[in-house]
């Protein structure tokens, strides 16, 4: 698994995709990690970095899909080409992508990890659900995605045959997917201050167990946690 690194990177570009913004950062020597892993992005003028899953990983750039829901995400959406920001990653546990009958299930901004996942997995079937048509414009990032808009729910698009589901979306959607497909790999979201297990801010409870999403997730029922995260080997590797 790739060791997380903290780097300063230039904004390569930023484009509106419906309500969301795709922020492209120069990649440099950063590892992209696995689909479902995330980076902490520093936000100019803010204290707490914010976690974003890797949306696209090209040779020269990493891209993150950002929903401008608050002051910090709005700052990130307004960054201009050439500005530098810090990022730290890849962090957390990604999806298992070596599955036999893959189906990617995304809800709203939960589409974010799937362009990269689809690329790694050779464009498997994808179903995406959104609240509005403007949000649904983000579906263009994932080839051949089947899309629905509320009141239709994305769980209605999951076929009644056994599939290996990789899901990301709001908590009610994840619970609904979990109920339909108990062994689905679910990517969760919670505010986090550190990204490496220190703050206990991102703990969620699933099946009666509390889990730190940054080190045990964000994908639960995915790859097993690899601890420690920031160890001496990394120091030697960097030296």
């Amino acid at each position: 698994m790739a060791s997380p690194r903290r780097e300063q990177r230039r904004v390569g570009g930023s484009e509106r995709i419906g309500l969301y913004t795709l922020l492209r950062l120069e990649r440099g020597g950063l590892e992209a990690g696995l689909p479902g892993q995330f980076f902490m992005l520093d936000v100019p003028g803010h204290i707490m970095p914010r976690p974003f899953s890797i949306c696209l990983a090209e040779k020269d750039e990493l891209a993150f899909l950002i929903n401008p829901v608050g002051p910090a995400t709005r700052v990130l959406c307004e960054l201009e080409r050439g500005q530098k920001i810090g990022l730290f990653g890849p962090l957390g546990n990604g999806f298992r992508t070596d599955v036999k009958r893959p189906l990617l299930v995304g809800g709203g901004i939960g589409v974010a990890p799937f362009p990269y996942a689809a690329q790694v997995m050779g464009n498997p079937p994808v179903v995406l659900g959104f609240r509005t048509a403007r949000q649904a414009e983000a579906a263009q990032l994932v080839p051949k995605a089947e899309v629905c808009i509320e009141p239709q729910l994305v769980t209605e698009l999951i076929p009644g045959v056994p599939m290996d589901v990789l899901a990301c979306g709001p908590e009610p959607m994840l619970h609904a997917v979990h109920a339909l497909v108990p062994d689905a790999q679910l990517a969760w979201e919670a505010p986090m201050a550190c990204g490496f297990g220190a703050c206990y801010g991102c703990v969620v409870e699933l099946d009666g167990k509390s889990r730190r999403l940054c080190v045990e997730g964000p994908v639960l029922n995915g790859r097993p946690p690899a601890l420690p995260l920031i160890d001496d080997e990394e120091e030697e590797a960097e030296a």
């Binding site: 707490m48 490496f196 801010g201 703990v203 920031i230």
Partner: protein, 284 residues
């Protein structure tokens, strides 16, 4: 000496960062497991962070069986933070953990803003812990105390070996649209740069009240060496880093180097020589 503030670093997920400290302080342990507070537990606010973790921990038995042996493998000095709902709770954890030679000291978290406060007075808790453990006991006090120096002298008389000053300050942040609290529990603990003058005042007053006779760990918003030196000048013998660690894994080494340089620039060969400098009337 550079430490981490309890709850701001997990040595098992980031051992390299822990080893860059002089002492690692583990997250608070209570007698029974605690599942912590509901989400959301974190929110950014003006000049700092608000947290409402709620002392989530596996309880002392599970800690001793599963976590303590792994901390011992780190091969570095470490303290354990101790919590509870009453004096007997604190004493039970101190007694259980105090059996382990590897634990250099126990820090009594007498001040978590995210759980209901212990009914017992700080001195009573310290006395109960002193009765069951010979380890150095550090009393971590709240910035809410109307007279922190009076409580400090009280806990020292009750058997505390040192002080940790201060815990986070209670704060509230509202959602910009719903105007409801952003944290699941409503209020939370405020940390970050705005804590610096608060911590500085507590350290200053307690150093004066204890005449510099006990070690004091200064905690609160330290992000660089000069800010660490300020705490030492006010009376701290060591400085703990808190929320700065979330965004800067190199902070311990950086702050240590800056601290040495800032002390030298003011004529102190070692940072420790600056301890209490703020109290000398002719300083400067």
């Amino acid at each position: 000496m550079i430490l981490n503030a309890s709850g701001c670093l997990d040595a098992l997920t980031a051992p390299r960062v822990a080893r860059s400290l002089d002492i690692y302080v583990a997250k608070t342990i209570t007698p029974e497991p605690m599942s912590g507070n509901p989400q959301p537990r974190l929110a950014e606010t003006d000049f700092g962070l608000l947290n409402s973790i709620g002392l989530q921990n596996p309880g002392v038995e599970s800690f001793c069986a599963e976590i303590l042996p792994r901390l011992e493998e780190l091969g570095m000095p470490f303290w354990i933070s101790v919590g509870g709902a009453n004096a007997a709770d604190y004493a039970r954890v101190c007694e259980r953990i105090g059996e382990r030679e590897s634990v250099s000291a126990l820090e009594l978290n007498l001040s978590c803003p995210n759980v209901d406060p212990a009914a017992a007075g700080a001195a009573e808790i310290v006395a109960a812990c002193r009765a069951v453990s010979d380890k150095p006991l550090y009393a971590k006090l709240s910035p809410h105390l109307p007279d922190v120096a009076e409580v400090a002298t009280g806990v020292i008389e009750a058997g505390a070996s040192g002080l940790t000053l201060v815990n986070s300050l209670r704060g509230l942040v509202l959602d910009e649209w719903t105007l409801e609290p952003r944290l699941g529990r409503g209020v939370g603990g405020y940390s970050g740069a705005a804590m610096r003058p608060v911590a500085l005042a507590a350290v200053y007053l307690c150093y004066e009240a204890t005449k510099g006779a006990v070690p004091i760990v200064g905690v609160g918003g330290v992000q660089n060496g000069k800010q660490a030196l300020d705490l030492i000048a006010a009376g701290a013998s060591a400085v703990a880093l808190g929320s700065v660690l979330f965004g800067d894994l190199e902070a311990p080494e950086r702050v240590r180097t800056e601290l040495e340089q800032e002390a030298l620039a003011r004529g102190f060969e070692r940072p420790g020589e600056a301890r209490g400098a703020a109290h000398r009337p002719s300083a400067g």
